[in-house]
């Protein structure tokens, strides 16, 4: 539970795009999950 290191000041994250690559991939995977599941349930709905 101890305090984590206080961080050094570094370039503003808003400026450098590459540092949010992981975030971008993660949210896009989330988006794909939403799309795939929605179409899956829609197919089930149509089949009934």
């Amino acid at each position: 539970m101890g305090k984590r290191n206080t961080v050094q000041h570094q370039p503003n994250p808003h400026e450098s795009t590459h540092s949010l690559k992981g975030t971008f991939i993660a949210v896009m995977l989330l988006g794909v999950f939403i799309l795939v599941s929605w179409f899956g349930f829609y197919a089930l709905f149509l089949s009934r």
Partner: protein
């Protein structure tokens, strides 16, 4: 307010997905007519027999054209009235051939009920003073349990029937 480039792409992608969903269901609803049930037809809950469809002799299933059926039902705590068979016993099972088009018409004499033919898209709220209607093509063969899926009192789980779709 500054949006990161990736966040812009993400939000555009996300919103485009939502728009796509809305276009699909909107097209199906407004052009194909597959809205969820909504009929602004009202009825006196204390006198449902005044409506032709809910006269005791008109309850249950009736073939109105080739492959087209109407099922009239009166719900009350804790029973679905599908009319009586020739021997005077209460009907509990509705039988239709596969592929038939069935219009379910139901109302309630007392409290709110549900009407779901489990495993199909027939799933409606049934409210006092309103007539619930839904037309469905019974595409799949099988025995489907009709359940009351809105709480109506202590016997709620004993309110059921069956739809049998045969080849």
């Amino acid at each position: 307010m500054h949006l990161h480039k990736y966040e812009k792409i993400w939000l555009v992608f996300g919103m485009a997905s939502l728009v796509l969903f809305l276009l699909i269901i909107g097209f199906a609803a407004f052009w194909k007519g597959t809205h969820p049930q909504s009929h602004i037809e009202t009825i006196d809950p204390q006198n449902v027999e005044a409506h032709d469809a809910f006269k005791p002799e008109n309850l249950g299933i009736r073939e109105v054209a080739d492959g087209k059926y109407i099922v009239n039902i009166v719900a009350s705590a804790f029973n679905y009235d599908f009319g009586k068979d020739t021997e005077g016993n209460a009907i509990k099972t509705i039988r239709v051939p596969k592929g038939s088009t069935v219009l379910y018409q139901i109302t309630t004499k007392d409290v709110v009920h549900g009407f779901q033919v489990a495993g199909t898209n027939v799933n409606m709220m049934v409210e006092p003073g309103h007539i619930s209607r839904y037309e469905a093509v019974m595409k799949n063969v099988g025995e489907f349990t009709i359940v009351c899926n809105e709480y109506c009192g202590i016997g709620h789980h004993q309110m059921y029937g069956t739809v049998e779709v045969y080849e």
